[in-house]
Structures are given as C-alpha cells and as structure tokens.
Amino acid sequence: MSLAKLSVTVIVVARNYHGDLLACLKHLKDLDTKPAEVLIVGAQWDDPAVQTARQQFPEFHFLPDEPAEGASNPSHDLGVAASAGDVVVFIDDTSRAEPSWLNELMMPYEDESVAGVSGRVANGIPGEATNGISEIGCLLPNGNLTDNFGADPGRPIEVDHVPSTNVSFRRTALESIGGIRRIGYPGRGGRELTDAALRLRAKGGRLIFQPAAVVEAPAAGRTDEKNRMSYRFCYTERRDHVMVLLRALGWRDPLTYRFLWTTVREQPNHVRKFVQSLGRTHPDGSRRRLRERLAAPEPLTWIPVELSGLAAGFPAAFAARRNDLIGAGQANSGAPP
C-alpha cells in the first residue's frame, strides 16, 4: 500500500489544561498536509475553552466524553472506534505540532512492516535533544522502560514503546491486538499506549521513532516535574509499571520479576541519601540547619512507597487481566464488551 493511499485520523486527547486545546487545534489547522479527519475526545464540554474551540474549529469533530468508571480511561479507544483513517494519530492538547509534522510522521509507513510511528516530544528542557540518545523508548532487560522522547538521534530508529503524545498506529495493527485497552491504568495518562506498543512488539510489530516529526509540549514538562515529587505519583508509577508488564507480556515473562529486583536494588540509594544527610555539616563544610537535620529521614519514607506500589501492581494486574479475558470472551461471542 503506498503512502498516498493511507488516510489519516488525528485524535486529540484532551487532558483539559485550560487554554492549551485552542493552541493545539490551531497548529493542527496549519499543517502542511491536512489529515482526513480530526477528532477531539475527552474534553469537558462545559469548559469555556472547549466551547470556544467548537465555535472556532467547526471542521473538527468533538466527541462527547464518556464518564470514566473506576480505573477506566476510554478516550483513546473511543477515538479509534469513531475514526475511519488507515492510520490513527494520537496527540494530546498540550502539544503544538510543527507544519511538517504529519508528513514526517507518515514517512516510515512506506515500509509495510511498520506497525506504529511516534515522534519527538520537545518539552523545552535544556539538553533534552542530546540526552539518552541510545535509550529512546527502550524496554530494557531489567524491566525498566526508558523515555527520552525529547532526544534527537538524527534519523528514524526502532523503539519498544511510545510516548503519551505524538504517536500513531496502523489501524490493522491495532485491530490485530484487540485495540487499545480502556480499563486499568488510573495513573498518569499514556499507559494505554505503552501497553498497546508492548503488545504489538511482542507480536513482532515494528515501532519507529521519527525524530523529524516534532511536537512541542511545554505544559506537559511542567506538570510532570511538579507531580514527580509526590508519593502518590511514585506509588502509581511503580504499580502501573508492574501492571503494564504483566498485562502486555504475561505472568511467565521474566521482565516483571527482573523489574521487582531492579527496584529492590535501587532502595539502598535512599538509605545512602539518609546517611549522607545525617552529619552536622554539608560536604562543602557549611553548617547543616536544625530543620534539615530533622528532615534527614525523609529519603527513607520513599522505600515503603515504592515497594507498596510494586506489591499493589500484582493484584491490580490480576484483576485487569481477568477483565481483559472477560472482554475478549464477550467480543468473541458478539456481546458488547
């Protein structure tokens, strides 16, 4: 199938950062090559920014948000179900696409073995273009997933997983793995896409990172930076990581258990930080204040948070996999999932 014959649907997943949606849609309107359709999912309709966007961009389709139940996050799947393109592209509302973005993102699809293509997400962090170039979107043998989606290796490369924005999949590839899962990743957005990417890779699909397909997402950088310092974020990261490995690769795959061991091996770092903060003086010789000395045990508090996140991943994955199986059974019998 030639590239010219591929129709493209861009699905904007609204995370409801006020005001960002308008800028995102304006950039989509200015693309060099227009997609066949643009769908906006997950937007809160009573948000004034969304109401303005609907008036300003009548050519784009706004899908009513489906109320999330429990740990469900239906936006991606809703978008795919409502779209018609041969390739579905996911972008979130904090992203601003460059005019040539879609052209570059579609380029690797000339190779029919390519199941998905993601692009570069420039968060505006100094040095991000050069940091971690050999560790972009890798599933490492120790179970860790690397990101570094802001890095620019200078040419398209293969990856194991994808960022939470600026991602595309061939529709037939998504259908071959039963689509994007709705239920199970209540933490930060984008795990559904990682899950889909890992399942595609496990089935032998090729995923490409195309650095020339750039979106700028400065808001995403700010929010992540703030959240990363919270116990809640740390807990959900560990839990969801175990879940995504178990759901995508199965209980028998050693990577989940290696990830457990990797996390346990990292815990002495917290103890080391605690010991380093015990002395009366800083390494530079300046005196440590009483408040700092009282806060010295703080690094140790991360140990139960991380380990309980790991432990919580197993029952959560068990329940999620049971739902997956029930959903698959209903799909086979023709019943609604």
Binding site: I133, S134, E135
Partner: protein, 278 residues
C-alpha cells in the same frame, strides 16, 4: 551495513584465532603497525612475525597494510595508544558504517550473536557497542583458565572499550569515545565491577557468546615482555604484579577459594573449548 575492522599489529599470541573469528564478517581489515617494530614504550615488538601469521589468515585479500611511526617516546604510552588507534580507525572508516576494534588477543566466541547485537545497536541509533569480554588471567592447564569473575564466582564482563564503533568517531582514550553506547552484558544488571552499579544494559547474552580476552594468558617470558610494551606499562612493570600472577597461576584453586576474601581481583576456574576462533 558495511563493517570493517582495524588491528594493532604487535602481539602474535592468539592473533590468528582473533582474526579468523570475524574475518568472514567484515569487508576490510586495516593493519596498523610501527614501521620500525618499536612499541609505544620503546621496546622491540615482533611485527614481522605477526604479519606472517596474518598472511596465512588473509585468504580473500581483505587486509590493508598501514605502517606508521607510533613509537613516540616523548608521549605517554596511552596517548600513543589513542593516537595509533585513531589513525587506524580513520583509515578503516572509509566506505564503512561500523568499525570493529578488537585487540589481537580477543576472540569472538559467537560472531553471529556479535553481529546480531551490532544490527540492534544500529537500529536503536547507538554510535558504539560495548560488548562483554571475559577476561582470562592465566592458563593453569590444558583448556583450563583463571577468569575474572564476581566475588562469588559468577561470570563477570569486562569492557575495555567499545568493540564496535561508528565510522568516523573521535576516540577519547584508547578505544573509548564519548558517544551514545549500546551496552551488551551477561546479566540484566551491570556485571563489570569497574563500571557504575546502575549502568544501563540494553541486551543480555550468555557467557558462551561473549568475547574471550586472553589478556594475560602468556608464558612467563612473554608476559614479562608484554608488561613492558603495554599502554599500562607503568603499573604492570611493578615486580609484585608479575609475582602475583605467577603465584596464582601456580595455585589456581587457592586463588579461587580466597577470592571472596579479597576486595578486588576475583577469579573462577573455567574450561575453554579447544579450537575457539579456528
């Protein structure tokens, strides 16, 4: 993917086995040697003997001679090492995507796996590949060797520098370069005691697929000469280094059993199959 190689011609030990292990996988091999047969430290090296060995291996005329003046005695031996390698790498880079930089006492046990890993490194956008070497310390019997290990005798990798590097790279010291690395190891976590605990491992292979580095596997006369011409001559030429090596070679079991009690220099006894690289 076009792959070439360069070798520094100085040591005939294991040269034939080393070249044969990857000869059929590369397009060209640059032979770099000092035209006066003098080492980086000013000692004599058997260049002609090495070239004779290479002639028997080079059945497809892949080897290209690149003599030069590398015995710059007013420079540090390691600087000379880097200088010679850079010259050889630049020559080998012509018309190549990747260049192998194995020493002549390093033998690939599983070339197919090595080149599979290299293709993976290429597809991930890396510019150099760290591939695990098993460092052999001394031969203690027919096919039996003392090999560097973890404290409790598990296989340990050593990484003297990237064994494959993208053509045109600038070296920093010896084989090292500051470029994005693809790291292959023997376990999912770093096994080299000289590397950072948290070093990223991209791929895991079995010890049977590693590179065997016959680093100090020599007879007594040769090891003393090697200590003299090495880039690390200043450290190795201390009498205690040779004495320790000779004692451990004489009493290998004792060396293995006392390993957990030492702070470093841990060994295990291994058998290497005959005919490796042949």
């Amino acid at each position: 993917m076009r792959v070439t190689a360069y070798v520094l011609v100085a040591d005939p030990n294991f040269l034939s086995e080393s070249l044969r292990s990857y000869y059929h996988h590369v397009d060209r091999i640059v032979l770099s040697y000092d035209k006066t047969s003098v080492s980086w430290t000013g000692t004599a090296i058997p260049v002609q003997e090495c070239l004779d060995v290479i002639e028997t291996v080079d059945t497809n005329n892949k080897c290209v001679h690149a003599p030069g003046s590398y015995a710059r005695l007013d420079h540090d031996p390691l600087d000379n090492d880097t200088h010679q390698r850079q010259q050889a790498l630049d020559l080998a880079s012509e018309g190549a995507d990747w260049v192998l930089q194995l020493d002549t006492d390093e033998v690939m046990l599983d070339p197919e796996q090595f080149f599979r890993s290299l293709h993976r490194a290429e597809s991930l956008g890396a510019s150099a590949m760290d591939y695990p070497s098993r460092w052999l310390y001394a031969q203690v019997g027919p096919g039996r060797f003392l090999e560097a290990s973890t404290r409790f005798g598990r296989p340990a990798a050593s990484f003297p520098g990237p064994l494959a590097i993208r053509a045109g790279t600038q070296l920093v010291q010896a084989r090292q370069a500051e470029v994005p690395l693809y790291r292959v190891d023997l376990r999912p976590w770093n096994t080299d005691p000289h590397h950072n605990h948290g070093s990223t491992v991209h791929e895991v292979i079995s010890p049977e697929s590693a590179v065997l580095h016959y680093s100090w596997v020599r007879d007594h006369a040769t090891i003393r000469r090697k200590f003299g011409w090495s880039g690390h001559a200043q450290d190795y030429s201390q009498p205690v280094v040779y004495q320790r090596w000779a004692r451990r070679q004489r009493r290998p079991r004792q060396s293995v059993l006392t390993s957990p009690l030492r702070r470093s220099e841990w060994y295990r006894l291994v058998t290497v199959p005959e005919g490796v690289g042949k």
